[in-house]
Amino acid sequence: MKDGKIRFTLNGRDVVYEDSPLRRLLDVLREDLGETGVKEGCGEGECGACSILLNGKLVNSCMIAMGTIHEKELMTIEGLRETEQGKCIIDAFADAGAVQCGFCIPGMVMAAQSVLQDAPRPSEEEIRKGISGNLCRCTGYDQIVQAVQMASEKGAGLW
């Protein structure tokens, strides 16, 4: 970061960022990089709608300043949906009826990916825990939990 530039990879491609290090990662993703699949639900780290993977770990992008992501690896829903794993999860969400208004769902899909990365055959308990940082006001969660189970079965071997 010596030259004042922040370099990171986003969904596998290199990005160089030269604006203020104080801006929220969420805003840069949405406004500068066009990644509008990342949603803002609360802006205070409570809802998980802005979830992304940072070096493989699920984080809330509204709580992250640009200055902290130098040389890190980021994956958003825009990247995940291009992968076999992402497609499998999205498919399972659609089959399980886990999508209603949909606003929380891209974040949920990221959370599902994180759950399956850690435990390819997760128990219900592990799923509920893994998605508990992502709030959904529509579904009551049961069908989301089911979707993750379905993804883990159908996509066995992918994780």
Binding site: T36, G37, G43, G97, C101, F103, P106, K129, Q143, V145
Partner: protein
């Protein structure tokens, strides 16, 4: 035999939403030339004495009441809510100005420099303060926005000859919608037309509400609905309140402006569910049979009327619940207080009313020493029974069958016996019903829904109406209904997103009317199109609402007749364990059996059921929203707790078919009814666990501690 229409299909919007390609309002306009930020009153009640505005840099504006071309009133049901407060302020959070400009930081800075001197008055916070006309009247002659009195049978006489009279008052609190997508609007001006994109339930309501303020023909006001990230009633009228100031600003500046609330202001200043206080007095004979109820139902309407009159109507028509009581009198009033206005929220007055009546039935059973389930049985409504408005129950009532199923699923009876001797555990059951569609003659005289069906030369069929997809699945279920009636694949049928310029007014997306009322029009239109089908040609059908002929005519003067064409019915059972140290309640089991005519898609309906139950359980004990010193103390998502995936066990549900002649493929309303039963069942379960009657939601640990300490 389940109907084939109930077989689930994949939702049309599921993949786009899950993959993040569905564009909500803020995604469609991620960068906007201008942003708006509301300036809110910082006192609850008073008059504006003087205003000092900062010097404005080039390109920045502060828009207020002086900029209104038309009349400073939003048209909802009555016209009491001003676009901008100019002289009087009625609640902390009322919009006084809209600050507009390109840079958010500068806007915030300007915001801070606005200075207003108020002459403050003591606000009315409680219903009692409102009734006492503290510091003078604010609405009408008595601070009552609306009053409805109904009765059925006799009332005075049964109380005179009663062997025993029992009475109790029940309370429910505020609730915040917490739709995941905050209120969002984007507006611009094109030639002579004002165009507004909005995350909203009722595009035609917004248009109607703006006519006054803009002083423009409604044809020159165009509202385009954007994919709506949840609403639950919170986007029924509140978008009008934001659209007013935004429209005035756009008319003045003639440039595109985006207005997206951040979560904090959304939670602090948006509308909420009506709190209620419902007093029920019951006359009983010497055998403990109910002779009559006398009910006083009060709602806290907040500062402006909004749609309180209609919420009150539903509360009043529903409070008798599923019981045929020969004599009942109900007085309902909604009061003006100095809080953010109360407004629509899933269930719309019914959850408050049903909580009160179900808790009261438990209280009566408890006081009489009778098993609460057995106590209810003789009163359960049957086909042909009268309603509290002297209407009639037309459908076969499936409650006995539903009761059997839920008892089997939940093991209620054995658990109820066991928990009599097992401290801290409890199980509770509730019955409920919910009228489909608008109250009384609303559909026939006010809404007059219309649907278009258009077919192009490729034989693709498009459904045009004003009912929005807000998560409930209508973009799929409408297509299912049409494709089934046309006997063509669902992929050949498309749902057109509402835009007031291209769709007819088929009414608002409220009152569980979309599938039952408007879906029926879709079915009728599709049937006609099928009869006239000419492959390879453009064809279109207009279908207007036709009132069902089976109803007891509604009289709006006397409030008698069929308040609703049909009812959906439900039974819930909730099982809990109360932690004896922390008094926290853990929900151990959730069961529901429902009759909603015919479910149009089993999976979509189950999604509604589970979502509604969990939202209602949040209302029952997690969602504490306290009002003090002019504001809600829980105004962020870290303070106001909505359920997470860890809070509740899996919901078990079942559905009983009972086709309704005037609903799409037999469907009745589903989305609201599923909210109605959880709070009273939860209250009943906790009542057993702590051996006292719960008369208030949310049930807070501190309340339980008090209750048990007092050994009430």
């Amino acid at each position: 035999m389940p109907h084939s229409i109930s077989t689930s299909v994949r939702r049309k919007d599921a993949v786009a939403k899950a993959a993040g390609t569905m564009e909500y309002l803020a995604d469609q306009f991620p960068v906007s030339p201008l942003h708006g930020k509301c300036y809110y009153s910082s006192i609850s009640r008073g008059t504006i004495e003087s205003v000092s505005l900062p010097e404005l840099p080039e390109g920045y504006y502060i828009v207020g009441a002086d900029d209104i071309q038309g009349v400073n009133r939003l048209h909802m049901i009555i016209e009491d809510w001003p676009v901008f407060a100019d002289k009087e302020v009625r609640y902390l959070g009322q919009i006084i100005f809209l600050v507009v400009g390109p840079e958010k930081d500068v806007i915030l800075d300007l915001h801070k420099q606005i200075q207003i001197t108020y002459r403050e008055l003591t606000p009315c916070i409680t219903l009692e303060e409102s009734t006492a006309l503290l510091e003078g009247v604010q609405h009408g002659e008595d601070n009552v926005f609306t009053r409805y009195d109904i009765h059925h049978g006799q009332v005075e006489y049964p109380f005179e000859k009663a062997h025993r009279i029992l009475e109790k008052e029940y309370y429910t609190g505020h609730q915040e919608h917490v739709y995941m997508e905050p209120q969002s609007l984007f507006a611009h001006w094109e030639e002579d037309t004002f165009i507004l994109h909005a995350s909203a339930q009722c595009p035609f309501y917004i248009r109607k509400s703006l006519v006054n303020a803009l002083g423009m023909d409604k044809e020159k006001i165009r509202i385009i609905q954007t994919p709506t990230g949840g609403a639950f009633g919170g986007k029924e009228h509140f978008p009008d309140v934001l659209a007013g100031p935004l429209a005035v600003a756009v008319c003045k500046i003639k440039k595109p402006i985006k207005l997206v609330l951040d979560r904090k202001e959304d939670m602090a200043y948006s509308i909420k569910r009506h709190p209620s206080a419902i007093h029920i007095r019951t006359a009983l004979d010497k055998d403990g049979r109910i002779l009559a109820h006398d009910i006083d139902l009060r709602l806290d309407g907040g500062a402006f009327a909004s749609c309180s009159a209609v919420v009150l109507a539903r509360a009043v028509f529903t409070v008798g619940n599923v019981y045929n009581i020969n004599n009942i009198r109900i007085c309902g009033r909604v009061f003006c207080t100095n809080k953010p206005p109360s407004d629509a929220f899933r269930g719309f007055g019914a959850p408050q009313a049903i909580f009160a009546m179900e808790s009261h039935m438990n209280f009566l059973a408890y006081a009489l020493g009778i098993d609460p389930l057995a106590f209810r049985q003789p009163y359960l409504m049957k086909q042909g029974d009268p309603t509290s408005t002297d209407g009639k129950i037309h459908e076969e009532v499936m409650l006995p069958e539903m009761t059997r199923r839920i008892l089997e699923m939940s093991g209620y009876e054995k658990k109820y016996q066991d928990y009599k001797t097992r401290p801290n555990w409890g199980i509770g059951l509730s019955y409920f019903f919910h009228g489909s569609g608008f109250t009384g003659n609303g559909e026939r005289d006010l809404i007059k829904a219309r649907i278009y069906l258009k077919k192009n030369r490729k034989d693709q069929v498009f459904i045009y109406g004003s009912n929005v997809e807000m998560g409930q699945g209508i973009s799929t279920t409408f297509c299912k209904v049409a494709s089934k009636a046309l006997d063509i694949p669902i992929d050949q049928v498309h749902f057109v997103e509402p835009d007031t310029e291209i769709v007819p007014d088929s009414g608002p997306t409220v009152a569980s009317r979309s599938i039952s009322v408007v879906g029926f029009l879709v079915q009728k239109a599709a049937k006609r199109l099928k009869a006239e089908w000419k492959s390879g040609e453009d064809q279109s059908i207009i279908q207007d609402y036709e009132a069902p002929t089976h109803m007891v005519p509604w009289d709006q003067e006397t409030l008698t007749g069929d308040a609703y064409p049909a009812y959906s019915w439900g039974v819930n059972v909730i099982e809990v364990e109360v932690d004896p140290l922390s008094y926290e309640v853990n929900t151990k089991g959730i069961w529901g059996v429902y009759e909603m005519g015919v479910p149009i898609d089993r999976q979509i309906v189950e999604g509604q059921i589970i979502g509604g139950m969990i939202q209602a359980l949040g209302y029952s004990y997690l969602e504490k929203l306290e009002f003090s010193q002019g504001r809600f103390r829980q105004a962020t998502m870290s303070d106001y707790m909505i359920p997470t995936s860890m809070d509740f066990p899996t919901t078990q549900c079942d559905i009983v078919d009972n086709p309704f002649e005037y609903g799409a493929f037999g469907a009745k309303g589903a989305g609201e009814m599923v909210f109605d039963g959880a709070a009273p069942a939860f209250g009943a379960a906790v009542s057993q666990a702590v051996d006292t009657i719960i008369d208030e939601v949310p049930v807070l640990p501190e309340t339980l501690m008090e209750l048990t300490d007092e050994g009430r």
